[in-house]
């Protein structure tokens, strides 16, 4: 290339093709202040959509003293979009403020040893010289160390949730060759990526997708997403030991302390987080633990890396956890167009600065404009054509400088180089006169010059520029030469001076606008972005509004963040619990246990607060059912919402706006309900339904004698006021059974809640399942194992006369009672013989009924009456009814009906049969035939008693009785005896 007053030896200094830290003097010379940095959010004050680098630096350095904790700012942008420039600008500003010490870790530090070395410069201790470099290790070593670490991970507490068989399986997989290969592949990639320049680096020693693929096949039980970070962090720790890296966080902590003593704040500026390779997670953990130090932190990361780590992190909690802890998030490129915001307005001044840096100083007065040997139109056109190596549009400073550098280094004139290299001209955006296409055949160089350098409206170029460029201009194209400077503004606009002004930038944009009127279509432009907030891609969904929360909320939020980060204190957690309770209260049934299909729930959680246990805090982690919250970043977002909810109305609004939150609350409720049932079932030894079923079966049987649940009337929950129990001799003495009977309405209500849909529809299917699966003896045996350790706040919320005064029975009291009453019944079943006596009258009556007919009974009653009259036995009024006996009474049928009852009484296998017998007897007692016989038997007994009494007296007072009287009496007694025997 012709000289064009370019100092070619300087090109490599200024037009560097790699992203390397620029020496201070180079930086100062070519650095164009970045005045277009998009603010996604800044939390310490109001902000505008776009700010300058000075503003960012001021924000970052807007701290003093040591009470601030870590303050984190991130800079996101495409590779080569000026993140490093911004970082360096912050660094130089930090050097000029008294209270700050910048520590810049540039992207070019690809060895951890260098980073550690840099850190040690800030400590008064010698740097360790034994730090190895992981990339220098044999793959074999890395693999075996990683496998060992993974095996050790399996032995940690986190894996105790898996069964011994599952852990064994896991150990096998980890020792398998497939897993080893997974590690080796990742390591090979790591080595390649770590030295990669100008592109995004992926530095992981384990790849999640591969890990998940392997595990989903070999160990489907494994919660891969959950355990992967455990493995990864362990492997990373192992690698640290392997290269004797030591604890990076500890070093940072020491630096923090070191500067704390000097009342200074270290400003840790990382041009690219991936420089930290496999320790970047460690580093993030340390930095995002806001209490970890007093660093002002600037983290640069590429759009792709940030998306991977943060925005696309499926774990919403991690995402918002990090977002919440950032003080500010800045973007250097548009996420839509990948274009640099800064460059859009400043490509002209920036290029001018670079050109100025390599220009022969003596030539400054002779050149027509600061872009020589280009011109502003050419620069803008180059800027518009910028693409990356995949052919995608990518307007970044580095690419622009790279292209300009190549043009300057080329051995053909710029316009020819441009024409050869940048052919992707969209002619519709850039109409050229038709004549150019024919003229081009003849004068290719001149037409190329016109095409790239020409003024958009008339395609003319400066005559002076053409002369200075040394082009022999063809007369045929003379009409395209302008005698006026097409860059007439040059004298008014000091482009390329050390302190370019704001106006200059805007002017540059104006030129670009002339060149390409269609640029408005290219997406976000500073012009429209200044006014309205433009949402950019995925950021919109995670945007944190720059609100000014109340200080109290801030404190709670900080505590929450610390808790999630592993702190064991969270004094403000009651607020979180209160908020969560509002949410839980909006979902039905979280605090009741009943038939899932039904509408009746009387077993309710009746404590004033729900048991919410936050792991890691000093919440006593009881073993009973509770809603358990883990300090996981995954749920951080939900916790944060809970913290802010102070009313049911807010809870409703949160749920209706955030269905993800609603789904999470739903899971909590389901888990809680499930744990309640499991807990009760484990403690009781049988499902709560079965316990309730038996409680009701006892109460029902003892009240009514109805035992068989299949009997339709079994479900009739209206129990008689006077139970059959009183007919028994021994059972009614049993204290627990009697106490249980006193709770019969409570028990009945519980029964309904489990085996009814509503008060009018029974659920026989649910009933049969339980009745068949849990026979009484088995149920009582199961209950025997339990004591009152189910006092978990459940009460039977039923207004009944059982308990009176609205007092509710706690579930555990009821279950204790059931257990004891059941025990009483079981032991009673072993000695039911005495109970037979209570059936004496019935058995006698039925004995009397055998062979009895109405005429026979009438005859016998006549005899009896005669005797009664003769011996002056007092007649009872009810005996009168016997004289009006219906001739239709069927004593034979009565006898037949009594047979099974008498048989039952004969064996009396268990208390339920006993009550069944009592029921049958009581039903027979209602029959006219039985009543008649019973009355007759009663009459007979009374007359008999009377006669016996007379006989006794007559024997004693023999002298007073006539012989005849005595004989009559004996005759009557004989008759009576015969009647009775018959």
């Amino acid at each position: 290339m012709p000289e064009f007053y370019i100092r070619h030896q300087q090109l490599d200094t200024f037009f560097r093709t790699e992203a390397l830290e620029k020496p201070a003097e180079v930086f100062r010379k070519v650095h164009t202040p970045i005045d277009q940095i998009a603010v996604d959010f800044y939390k310490e004050g109001p902000y505008e959509r776009f700010v300058s680098e000075d503003q960012v630096a001021r924000w970052v350095l807007n701290s003093s003293g040591t009470l601030w904790g870590n303050r984190i700012f991130t800079i996101t942008g495409e590779t080569g979009s000026g993140k490093s420039e911004l970082c360096q600008a912050i660094r130089y500003q930090a050097e000029e403020t008294k209270g700050h010490v910048p520590i810049l870790i540039s992207r070019s530090m690809t060895r951890l040893r260098d980073i550690v070395s840099l850190l040690h410069q800030h400590l008064d201790e010698p740097q360790p010289d034994d730090i190895g470099e992981i990339t220098a290790l044999p793959a074999e070593t890395v693999r075996s160390a990683a496998v060992t670490e993974c095996l050790l991970t399996v032995e940690t507490k986190a894996f105790q949730a898996y069964t011994p068989e599952q852990r064994q399986k896991l150990r096998q997989i980890l020792q398998d060759v497939a897993f080893g290969r997974l590690i080796e592949r990742a390591f090979t990639r790591y080595k390649k990526e770590v030295v990669a320049q100008g592109k995004e680096r992926v530095l992981e020693l384990m790849d999640y997708d591969e890990f998940q693929n392997l595990m989903s096949g070999a160990a489907p039980f494994l919660k891969a997403a959950e355990v992967f970070p455990l493995f990864r962090s362990r492997v990373n720790d192992g690698m640290k030991r392997l290269v004797s890296l030591g604890d990076l966080s500890q070093r940072l902590r020491s630096i923090a302390q070191h500067y704390q003593k000097q009342s200074k704040r270290p400003v840790l500026i990382m041009e690219d987080l991936t420089s930290f390779g496999f320790v970047k997670e460690d580093l993030l953990d340390y930095l995002f633990d806001l209490n970890g130090g007093n660093f002002d932190v600037v983290i640069g990361w590429t759009t792709g890396f940030e998306a991977e780590q943060l925005l696309r992190n499926p774990n919403e909690g991690v995402r918002s956890y990090m977002m919440d802890r950032m003080k500010g998030r800045f973007l250097t490129t548009s996420q839509d167009t990948r274009g640099s915001f800064f460059l859009e307005r400043n490509h002209l001044p920036m290029v001018a600065r670079y050109l100025d840096a390599v220009r022969e100083p003596a030539a400054a007065d002779r050149i027509p404009d600061p872009f020589y040997p280009l011109n502003p139109y050419a620069v803008t056109r180059i800027y518009q054509q910028l693409i990356d190596d995949k052919g995608q549009q990518k307007r970044t400073p580095r690419l622009l400088i790279d292209v300009i550098g190549r043009i300057l280094r080329s051995n053909v004139p710029p316009w020819e180089e441009i024409e050869a290299r940048l052919l992707r001209v969209n002619l519709q955006d850039w109409p050229l006169p038709d004549s150019f296409f024919t003229l081009k055949q003849e004068y290719p160089a001149a037409v190329a010059l016109l095409k790239w350098y020409g003024r958009p409206d008339d395609h003319k170029v400066d005559r002076r520029t053409v002369e200075l460029l040394g082009v022999a201009w063809p007369p045929a194209l003379a009409q395209y030469l302008s005698d006026e400077s097409i860059w007439s503004e040059r004298s008014d606009e000091p482009v390329g001076q050390d302190q370019p002004t704001k106006e200059e930038g805007e002017h540059g944009a104006g030129v670009a606008g002339q060149v390409a009127p269609s640029k408005q279509a290219s997406g976000l432009t500073p012009d429209n972005a200044g006014g309205s907030k433009t949402t950019t891609g995925t950021t919109a969904t995670v945007r944190t509004e720059p609100t000014q929360p109340k200080p109290q909320v801030d404190q709670d939020l900080l505590e929450l963040q610390n808790w999630v980060a592993g702190s064991d204190t969270f004094p403000g957690r009651q607020k979180l619990k209160a908020g969560l309770t509002y949410l839980l209260n909006l979902t039905e049934d979280h605090a009741t246990i009943a038939n899932p299909r039904g509408q009746l729930s009387v077993l309710k959680y009746e404590k004033s607060t729900l048991p919410i246990v936050m792991a890691g805090t000093n919440d006593s982690d009881v073993d009973h059912p509770a809603i358990r919250l883990q300090p996981t970043r995954e749920h951080y977002e939900f916790y944060r919402i809970c913290l802010a909810i102070t009313s049911a109305r807010e809870a409703e609004a949160s749920l209706s706006e955030n269905l993800r939150l609603a789904a999470w609350v739903g899971s909590l409720v389901r888990e809680y309900q499930q744990s309640q049932r499991v807990y009760l079932s484990t403690r009781l030894g049988l499902p709560i339904e079965a316990a309730i079923f038996h409680a009701y079966r006892i109460v029902k049987a003892m009240s009514t004698g109805i035992v068989d649940p299949a009997e339709p009337t079994f479900a009739d929950t209206a129990l008689p006021a006077v139970p059959l129990l009183n007919r028994t001799s021994g059972l009614k003495q049993m204290p627990n059974l009697r106490d249980l009977m006193r709770l019969k309405q409570t028990v009945a209500a519980l029964y309904q809640s489990f085996f009814y849909i509503n008060t009018t529809t029974a659920d026989p299917v649910a009933l049969e399942r339980i009745a068949a699966g849990y026979p009484f003896s088995k149920a009582v045996a199961a209950l025997n194992g339990f004591n009152k350790q189910i006092d978990i706040g459940f009460k039977v919320a039923v207004a009944s006369s059982d308990t009176g005064q609205g007092k509710e029975k706690a579930l555990h009291e009821l279950m204790l009672l059931l257990r004891q009453a059941g025990g009483e019944l079981l032991s009673a079943g072993k000695s039911l013989a005495p109970e037979r006596d209570t059936f004496g009258p019935f058995q006698e009556t039925m004995a009397f009924a055998d062979g009895m007919t109405v005429p026979l009974l009438k005859e016998q009653l006549a005899t009896l009456r005669g005797i009664a009259v003769r011996y002056k036995v007092m007649a009872r009024p009810e005996w009168q009814s016997l004289q009006e006996m219906s001739p239709a009474l069927d004593f034979g049928a009565l006898t037949k009906r009594s047979e099974s009852v008498l048989a039952t009484i004969g064996i009396l296998s268990d208390p339920f049969r006993l009550m069944e017998a009592h029921r049958a007897v009581s039903q027979m007692e209602e029959l006219e035939a039985y009543k008649t016989l019973s009355l007759a038997r009663e009459m007979l007994h009374e007359v008999e008693d009377a006669l016996r009494e007379i006989t006794r007296r007559s024997l004693n007072q023999q002298q007073k009785f006539a012989q005849r009287d005595r004989e009559d009496c004996e005759d009557a007694y004989t008759t009576l005896s015969e009647t009775l025997e018959g």
């Binding site: 989903s216 489907p220 039980f221 919660k223 997403a225 959950e226 998306a307 925005l311 696309r312 992190n313 499926p314 919403e316 995925t538 969904t541 995670v542 209260n585 909006l586 979902t587 039905e588 038939n595 899932p596 299909r597 039904g598 509408q599 995954e634 049911a648 409703e652 749920l655 209706s656 706006e657 269905l659 993800r660 609603a662 789904a663 999470w664 739903g666 899971s667 389901r670 339709p712 479900a715 009739d716 009814y756 849909i757 509503n758 008060t759 009018t760 529809t761 029974a762 659920d763 026989p764 299917v765």
Partner: protein
């Protein structure tokens, strides 16, 4: 007794509970054919009670949806083959098949999903039912009692979630309904493509896609939560149409996690 399918509009069954339907269906399925009288005995029905014949109403509802049939022997279930299918899915399938004037029950849910509504109030439901483009049966008088019943029933069916003591529902499916549907497609044994699952759901059961073809936020949230609870694995493959369930997270295939596949 008439064996004709009852003609009362579904929206008029305002006293019938979802749980009653399930119980009646279970009784008929286990012991049918059963005459009404027998079913009444088994459900402890006592005439002269609350004044509403829940048993008869419930059976009529099931009959309208063709889940039970009626002949001289009494009521029988219609699809013996579909045993093991979640009862709620059976009802939803019946509602989906219900044609003509009876289509309105599920159509109301369709509108909520298609319009991408995350939550609605009672009043908003009434407004939709009264809209001109909505085919509310002419003779039906729309009132809060009916929408209230619709909400309770849809809540029971797992199509929406009612907020306790509030007039608001969340348009979000019950995760168990989703897993039941996926199990039906064999997702407990193999990966099921989201497209297939959605097609299955949309034609046979209920709508899950908004009008613009994206997953309804309630469905997306439910999938995300199922994945978070490790009940469902979300898979992304490059060669299948993706559906977004969260910012930056799309899914093309689903597979139930093992514990989930065996709990049926």
């Amino acid at each position: 007794m008439s064996f004709e399918v009852p003609t009362s509009y579904l929206l008029n069954y305002i006293t019938t509970l979802g749980g009653t339907l399930e119980t009646l269906y279970n009784i008929v399925a286990l012991q049918g054919p059963l005459p009404l009288k027998e079913i009444r005995i088994r459900t402890d029905y006592r005439p002269g009670g609350a004044g509403e014949d829940h048993v008869k109403n419930g059976l009529n509802f099931l009959h309208t949806l063709d889940l039970v049939s009626l002949d001289h022997d009494g009521y029988s279930t219609t699809d013996k083959a579909a045993e093991g299918v979640d009862f709620r899915l059976k009802v939803v399938a019946g509602l989906r098949k219900a044609s003509g004037d009876q289509g309105h029950f599920l159509e109301l849910h369709d509108v909520l999903v298609r319009e991408g509504r995350a939550s609605v109030t009672d009043d908003e439901l009434i407004a939709i039912l009264n809209r001109k483009d909505f085919t509310t049966p002419g003779e039906t008088d729309i009132n809060p009692v009916k929408t209230g019943w619709w909400i309770r029933t849809c809540d029971y069916l797992g199509l929406v979630q009612q907020l306790n003591g509030r007039k608001r529902i969340l348009v979000m499916p019950d995760p168990n309904l989703i897993t039941a549907m996926l199990r039906e497609l064999g997702a407990n044994r193999k990966e099921v493509s989201v497209v297939d699952w959605l097609r299955h759901s949309e034609t046979r059961y209920f709508c899950q896609l908004c009008a613009d073809g994206t997953l309804h936020p309630g469905v997306a949230a439910t999938l995300a939560e199922l994945s978070s609870c490790n009940r469902l694995r979300l898979i992304y493959k490059d060669d299948a149409p993706p559906f977004q369930i969260a910012a930056g997270q799309s899914v093309t295939h689903l597979v139930l996690v093992k514990e989930e596949s065996s709990d049926a």
